[in-house]
C-alpha cells in the first residue's frame, strides 16, 4: 500500500485527494449557478393543492395573501410570495394583502413593486400566453398593511376588513378601493394564503380557519414545516409549502422559475455530486477489499 506504483485503480479511488472533491463541487455549484435550466423538482401533494386551488379561480375572484415574515426569513419565503402574486395578477384574480408581522410591510411592498413590474411584460406560463398588463393599486390588489394585536385583527377580519383596516397602507379609505367594493369579510374571498415565519400562522389557523371556516393554505420556513403537517392531516389547512423546496415546487408548477428554482437547481446538482462521490468511495472500498480477498 505504501508503494505508489503498486496502487490499483480502487486504491487510488480510496485515497483520492479530497481537493478533487472540493474542485468538482465548486465547478458544479458555479456552473449550475450561471447556466439557466429547469430542474424537474417534483411537486408534493400539499403544494399541488395550493396551485390547483389558485389556478381554478375565475377572473375577478379574490384571495387574501398574508405576508407575515421578517427579513430573516426572506430567502425562503419571498419566492413563495412572488410566484403566487404573479400567478394571481396574470389570472386577474384580486389580491388583498395584509402583513401582521412588524417588519412585514416592507417585505410586502417590495414584492408588490417587483411583481407589478414583471406583470407589465407579456409572458407564457404552462402554454398559456398572457399579455403584459398594468397592475393598478386598488383595482388589482389592495395592500392593507400592518396592525398590532394580530389575533384580534384576524378575528376582526372575519366580521369586516374595515374593523381594523378602515384605511389601507397608503392611508386611502378602504371603501374607495374598487377591489374592496363587495368585500366585507372572509365570506367574500376565496381563500387565505398565509406566508409566515412566525407565530402569526397559529392565529390564522385558530381564528380564521377554525372559527370562520376560511380555506387556508400555508407557506412556512423549512424549520417550521414539520410542526404544521398535522393540520394538513386534519384538513384545517388545505395546502402547505415548506422552505425553499416548497417554493421551488410551486415555481415549477406555475412554470415561473424564480429565486427558489435558482437555488434548487444548484442544490439538486450539488447533492447529486456529493452522492456520486459517496458511490465512488464505496466502489473503491469494495473493489480494493475484493482484490485483497477480504
Amino acid at each position: 500500500m505504501s508503494n505508489n506504483s503498486n496502487k490499483g485503480f480502487f486504491d487510488r479511488v480510496m485515497l483520492l485527494d479530497r481537493r478533487w472533491v472540493f474542485l468538482v463541487l465548486a465547478v458544479v455549484v458555479v456552473s449550475t449557478y450561471y447556466i439557466p435550466m429547469n430542474v424537474p423538482v417534483p411537486a408534493s401533494r400539499e403544494v399541488q393543492t395550493i396551485f390547483d386551488a389558485i389556478e381554478g379561480l375565475e377572473e375577478g375572484q379574490k384571495i387574501l395573501l398574508a405576508i407575515d415574515y421578517d427579513p430573516n426569513a426572506l430567502a425562503e419565503l419571498h419566492p413563495m410570495t412572488y410566484v403566487i402574486m404573479e400567478q394571481c395578477f396574470r389570472k386577474k384574480v384580486g389580491v388583498i394583502i395584509t402583513s401582521l408581522s412588524q417588519n412585514g410591510p416592507g417585505m410586502a411592498e417590495q414584492a408588490i413593486l417587483d411583481i407589478v413590474d414583471s406583470t407589465a411584460l407579456p409572458k407564457t406560463y404552462n402554454g398559456v400566453s398572457y399579455p403584459g398588463r398594468e397592475i393598478v393599486n386598488g383595482v388589482d390588489y389592495a395592500f392593507l398593511g400592518y396592525r398590532a394585536y394580530f389575533e384580534l385583527v384576524i378575528t376582526g377580519m372575519g366580521q369586516n376588513f374595515r374593523t381594523f383596516f378602515s384605511r389601507d397602507y397608503y392611508d386611502v379609505l378602504l371603501d374607495s378601493l374598487p377591489i374592496m367594493k363587495d368585500v366585507q369579510n372572509y365570506d367574500d374571498i376565496e381563500m387565505v394564503i398565509d406566508i409566515s415565519g412566525s407565530n402569526v400562522v397559529d392565529a390564522w389557523i385558530k381564528y380564521a380557519a377554525a372559527r370562520y371556516d376560511v380555506k387556508l393554505a400555508l407557506g412556512l420556513t423549512g424549520v417550521m414545516t414539520a410542526d404544521y403537517y398535522p393540520y394538513l392531516g386534519s384538513g384545517r389547512v388545505f395546502g402547505l409549502m415548506g422552505g425553499l423546496l416548497g417554493a421551488a415546487e410551486y415555481e415549477r408548477l406555475a412554470d415561473n422559475p424564480g429565486l427558489a428554482m435558482d437555488g434548487m437547481k444548484v442544490q439538486v446538482w450539488a447533492h447529486l455530486t456529493i452522492i456520486a462521490f459517496i458511490i465512488i468511495a464505496n466502489i473503491g472500498y469494495f473493489g480494493s477489499h475484493k482484490k485483497r480477498g477480504l
Binding site: 394585536y149 374595515r162 379609505l173 371603501d175 367594493k181 366585507q184 372559527r211
Partner: protein, 431 residues
C-alpha cells in the same frame, strides 16, 4: 351600485345603521375634506358593512386571583363570555381587560383576549405586570386591584362592560410549587450521588465501567504524538466557563497536560473565551507541575485568540495546517465550526478525538473524527481518565438515575394509556 345585503341581519335597523354611519363619516369628513366627495359616493356601499346595531351582552363573573409561583406582580383574571348574540346584537370579537386601583376607576387597558367560538367557555387572562415602579406596565404588589372586562365588536361604538370584580392582590411566593418535580429530581439525584460517593470511598476503584473507545484513544494519541515529535492540539470549544461541558473538559485537559508533560511532548490550547483561557492556563500549568516538569510549561502554549466564532476557526485552521499536530482533541461546546475543524484536521492527517453535548454537531464529529464521545460520554470522560473512586461513584449514580428514568417512562406510558393522566402530569414542571 348594487346594495346587496351580506347577511340576513342587514335587513334590520336601517335607520339606526344610517345614524351610525353618519357618525363614522362625520369624523372622516372633518379630518379629510379632500376625500369627502369620494366618501359620500361610497356611503351607500359602505353602509352594507355593519348591520347589527345593538351592543352585545356583557361578559360576567369576573374573578381575580393571585398568579401562583411568582414575584407578586401578576394576577389571573377569569371571566365568562358574553352570551351568543341575539337578533340585532353585534358579534363579540374579543374582550379587553381593564385594571384599576379603585372600584370607580380610572381604568387602564392592560390587554385583550380574542373570543372563543364556544361562548360557554370561560376565558382566562394573565395580567403580568412589571416590577419596576417607574415602568408603564407596573403592577403593584400587595395592593387591592379591580378588574373590568369589555366585550368589543367590529364597531368601536358597540361594546359592553362587565361588572367590576371583587378586589384582589398580587402576592409574591416563597416557593415555586410549579417546579416541585424538578426539585424532587434534583434532591433524589443529589442523595443518590452522595450515597454512591460513600460506597466508592469504602470500596475503592473496584467499580466496573465498560470501556469507551474514545477515552482509550487519548492515551494512545499522546503516545503517537511523542513518537512523531509533534504537538497535541486541545480545543475547548466555544463554550464559556459557565458551560458545564467546558468545566468537564478542563478536567480532561488537566490529565492530558500531565501525560503530555510526562512524555515530554507539547500541547497547544487556543482559547475562545477569556475566562476559559485563564482557567486553561492554570489547568495546563498544574498538569505540568503534577508531572514534575513545571519549567517545561510555557505561557504561550495556552493563548487567547478571539471571541468571534469564525475568526477563531480561521486561526485554529491555520494552526492545524502549519503545526500539523499529531492529535487534535475537541471537547466541549461546539457549533457550526465542528466540521470545519474536524475536516481540516483530517487534511492534516491528525488523529482526532471529539466530544460534545451539542446534538446538532454530533453527526459531524461522528462522521469526520476517529473517535467521538457522544453527549453524556463527555461528562463521564473525566471519571474514566482519572479512575478516581469518587468520580466513578458519581458515574454509578448517573446509571441508577437512568434506570429510574427508564422505569418511570414505561410506567408513565402505561398509566397514561390506562387513562391515569395525573401520573404524567405529576412530572410536569410549570414555569
Amino acid at each position: 351600485m348594487t346594495l346587496q345585503s351580506r347577511t340576513s341581519r342587514n335587513a334590520f335597523w336601517p335607520g339606526f345603521r344610517l345614524a351610525v354611519y353618519g357618525m363614522m363619516f362625520g369624523i372622516v369628513f372633518s379630518s379629510s375634506a379632500v376625500l369627502s366627495q369620494e366618501a359620500t359616493a361610497e356611503v351607500d356601499n359602505a353602509s352594507t358593512m355593519l348591520a347589527p346595531m345593538l351592543a352585545p351582552a356583557a361578559p360576567g363573573n369576573v374573578t381575580v386571583e393571585d398568579a401562583p409561583n411568582d414575584a407578586g406582580h401578576a394576577v389571573i383574571v377569569t371571566f365568562s363570555q358574553s352570551q351568543a348574540p341575539a337578533d340585532g346584537q353585534a358579534l363579540v370579537l374579543g374582550y379587553e381587560i381593564y385594571r384599576s386601583l379603585a372600584r370607580s376607576g380610572p381604568w387602564k387597558k392592560v390587554g385583550a383576549v380574542p373570543s372563543d367560538v364556544d361562548v360557554t367557555a370561560s376565558l382566562i387572562y394573565k395580567d403580568a405586570g412589571g416590577s419596576d415602579k417607574s415602568s408603564d406596565d407596573y403592577l403593584p404588589t400587595e395592593t387591592d386591584l379591580f378588574y373590568r372586562v369589555r366585550a368589543v365588536t367590529a364597531d368601536s361604538t358597540l361594546y359592553s362592560d362587565s361588572e367590576v370584580s371583587a378586589p384582589a392582590q398580587a402576592v409574591g411566593q416563597w416557593w415555586n410549587s410549579g417546579r416541585n418535580p424538578v426539585f424532587f429530581f434534583v434532591l433524589f439525584f443529589t442523595l443518590l450521588t452522595l450515597y454512591f460517593l460513600r460506597v466508592a470511598k469504602q470500596r475503592g476503584d473496584s467499580l466496573y465501567i465498560r470501556p469507551l473507545a474514545g477515552i482509550d484513544a487519548v492515551d494512545e494519541a499522546i503516545g503517537r504524538a511523542t513518537e512523531m515529535g509533534k504537538p497535541i492540539l486541545y480545543v475547548l470549544g466555544l463554550g464559556t466557563a459557565s458551560d458545564i461541558a467546558t468545566i468537564a473538559s478542563f478536567t480532561i485537559l488537566g490529565r492530558v497536560a500531565r501525560k503530555v508533560a510526562e512524555y515530554q511532548t507539547d500541547v497547544i490550547v487556543p482559547c475562545y473565551d477569556p475566562i476559559v483561557f485563564t482557567i486553561a492556563q492554570e489547568t495546563v500549568r498544574t498538569g505540568y507541575m503534577d508531572a514534575g516538569r513545571p519549567d517545561a510549561y510555557r505561557d504561550d502554549q495556552v493563548y487567547f485568540v478571539t471571541q468571534a466564532q469564525f475568526a477563531y476557526v480561521a486561526a485554529v485552521n491555520g494552526t492545524i495546517l502549519r503545526d500539523r499536530p499529531a492529535t487534535n482533541i475537541y471537547l466541549g461546546k461546539f457549533y457550526a465550526e465542528s466540521l470545519i475543524l474536524a475536516e481540516t484536521g483530517a487534511i492534516a492527517g491528525s488523529i482526532q478525538i471529539a466530544g460534545t453535548d451539542e446534538i446538532a454537531q454530533l453527526p459531524f464529529f461522528v462522521v469526520a473524527c476517529d473517535y467521538t464521545l457522544i453527549g453524556e460520554e463527555l461528562y463521564a470522560a473525566s471519571a474514566y481518565l482519572g479512575r478516581e473512586p469518587l468520580l466513578l461513584g458519581a458515574l454509578k449514580a448517573q446509571d441508577y438515575a437512568k434506570a429510574v428514568i427508564v422505569v418511570l417512562a414505561i410506567l408513565g406510558v402505561i398509566m397514561s394509556g390506562l387513562g391515569y393522566e395525573g401520573f404524567a402530569k405529576a412530572f410536569e414542571a410549570v414555569g
